[in-house]
Symmetry: C2
Subunit: 353 residues, 2 copies
């Protein structure tokens, strides 16, 4: 037994030694811990009006022109995975963030952090993948930077991209425009990117043959806006999956969201992998899907336009915005029950993008 | 003695086993190795017209508006140093790249890569420094992203910023506009940032009390452009120092550059530290200085405007552009000789920004 020494000044116990709070993996997961970091540290330090929008990209006016501006850093492991690579993600991730404002990406910046000792051939393969993805998305890499850190102080290759693009006139996509009655549409099968990454991670091979859905969504968004510029909000459900995207929209819009679970498009390979691993596909990351809140009167036409596009062939109506339970997402189960779909705390699997 | 076995097909020696080429620290140094990486890997993979400009920032036209767009990743060690921190650098580095096109920075993106285990208090201090630097520079952080990597796969905090700003009408700053006769002006004492970092690095303390010159140069550039919009080129001599900046301009402009060594403003503390360490101040990084190529007829007025500005109080004319030795930088020594000022291979001290 250890003896407790009372402080002779106060005759009380000394304050317990507390561990200083530290960064944990979940802070990078796109869930509640990430939101906490933004709310408690980043927003008070330098948050302005644009950052407060808290969307995937900022919508700005500069020189009288409406611009979207966004950034993402990519730390995915492994660098190459079925259906893509960190180079593809670095382009498509930022292009998609811009697309969620309705903007077609025009220019990207590209910042590499390379770890000493990485083979030049690997850098070359990543750069070529990045170039091919940029050409496919119709975006130009306009400016770049390269830093090198000592072996053991990085992890092969990290890539940051930032992007800018023009927001078309009449387009105003943000959660605040969501109203009860809006129809929720997802552009295709969910959870594919996350499961593809898991399938190649050390210790997590489970025989599932699945390629990442990593793709640039700019042309799909254009096809949707051609039906009506009056879409209410778009979001690409990456880290934290569909659950995180819908919770963010519900919280920012102040409406409730009801999903019908049986209408969720979950590819069989994703369903199997999630069953084996005990995961919920709604929380698994996507890199080539979007979720849209669309006015009821346009929903059928928008859905048809999505299904006519190669990246929206699997589009489905999965639910709606409601007046009840504002800020909360609930799912109706196939058996007629309901369950709350919470914001995830962190990410189920770190470093998937 | 080892025996050599000839290949029975050709009766010649087998090809030697070569080590695969790998990334070395110098690839991040802003010198010849960095240029090689861009020329051999990045430019062929995704280099377009804007990237080919090879300036600190790209000058673009988007929606009829002339924009500057730039990015930099910051991996400096230590995170806090005399006169600044990684947060200050992350703002000022990108703001200055934009300023070198004549643009006043309007918006920044900010991407953090945090290492698991970093204390939240350290993240908070860095974020606050970043916010204060942004307010001082008059730029808004509009969009951000945070990733976390496992302990041992990062190094505390890396920050990428990208920035956009408007380029004023009539301003066209690029090396191709340099002509023989242009006067070369530097805005103040050189080598201060690099020496300040060295002074706190483990094993390199040598008792020099010097604060980094880290500062945002937007208002200095505005004061210079108020004299004449017809400046020819500006460059902030960061990694690789003044030598790298002048070599890049000489190479891109196809003119020669002659410096007068005795006119170079080198603060005594920098001169002493460089003498001890065997460094040349011309190769040491700056984070709050610029070098300008100015038409001869405007040089005195521009110099006066610079000296009237707090960030240009130590401005000096240090040389000129010449027809001789195109693409080459030479220095006239105090004893009347000349020496070639080469492009550095890498950086003398890694991770200074």
């Amino acid at each position: 037994m250890s003896e407790i020494t009372l402080d002779p000044e106060t005759w009380s116990c000394p304050a317990p030694v507390r561990e200083r709070p530290r960064i944990v993996m979940g802070h990078g997961g796109g869930g509640a811990l990430s939101a906490e970091l933004v709310r408690d540290i980043f927003a008070p330090a330098y948050g302005g009006e644009a950052l407060a929008g808290m969307g995937d990209a900022a919508a700005l006016t500069l020189g009288g022109v409406r611009l979207a501006f966004s950034t993402d850093t990519f730390v995915v492991r492994p660098l190459f995975f079925p259906g893509g690579s960190i180079g593809d993600l670095a382009v498509n991730g930022t292009v998609n963030d811009l697309a969620m404002t309705g903007a077609r990406a025009a220019y990207l910046s590209c910042g590499f952090v390379l770890e000493e000792g990485v083979e030049l051939e690997v850098v070359d393969r990543v750069a070529k993948a990045l170039g091919a993805a940029a050409r496919a998305a119709g975006v130009e890499v306009a400016t770049g930077d390269t830093k090198v850190v000592e072996a053991g102080h990085g992890d092969g290759i990290f890539i940051n991209t930032a992007g800018i693009g023009l927001i078309p006139a009449g387009v105003d996509l943000r959660p605040q425009r969501v109203v009860p009655g809006d129809v929720v549409i997802v552009s295709g099968g969910i959870g594919v990117h996350g499961v593809a990454i898991m399938s190649v991670r050390e210790g997590l091979e489970f025989g599932v043959e699945l390629e990442s859905d990593c793709a640039a969504l700019g042309s799909l968004v254009e096809a949707m806006l051609a039906v009506t510029p009056d879409l209410h909000v778009l979001r690409d459900p990456t880290r934290g999956g569909l659950a995180a995207a819908l919770n963010e929209i519900a919280a920012a819009s102040g409406t409730g969201v009801v999903l019908r679970e049986r209408d969720l498009p979950v590819p069989p390979a994703v369903a199997n992998a999630c069953a084996i691993l005990g995961l919920d596909p709604m929380y698994v990351a996507n890199e080539g899907k979007l979720v849209a809140f669309v006015p009821r009167e346009s929903a059928d036409a928008v859905l048809a336009a999505m299904r006519a596009h190669p990246l929206g062939a699997g589009a489905a109506i999965i639910g709606e915005a409601v007046e009840e339970h504002p800020g909360m997402v609930v799912a109706r189960t196939p058996l007629g029950g309901t369950r709350v779909v919470d914001l995830p705390i962190g990410e189920q699997l770190p470093r998937i993008c």
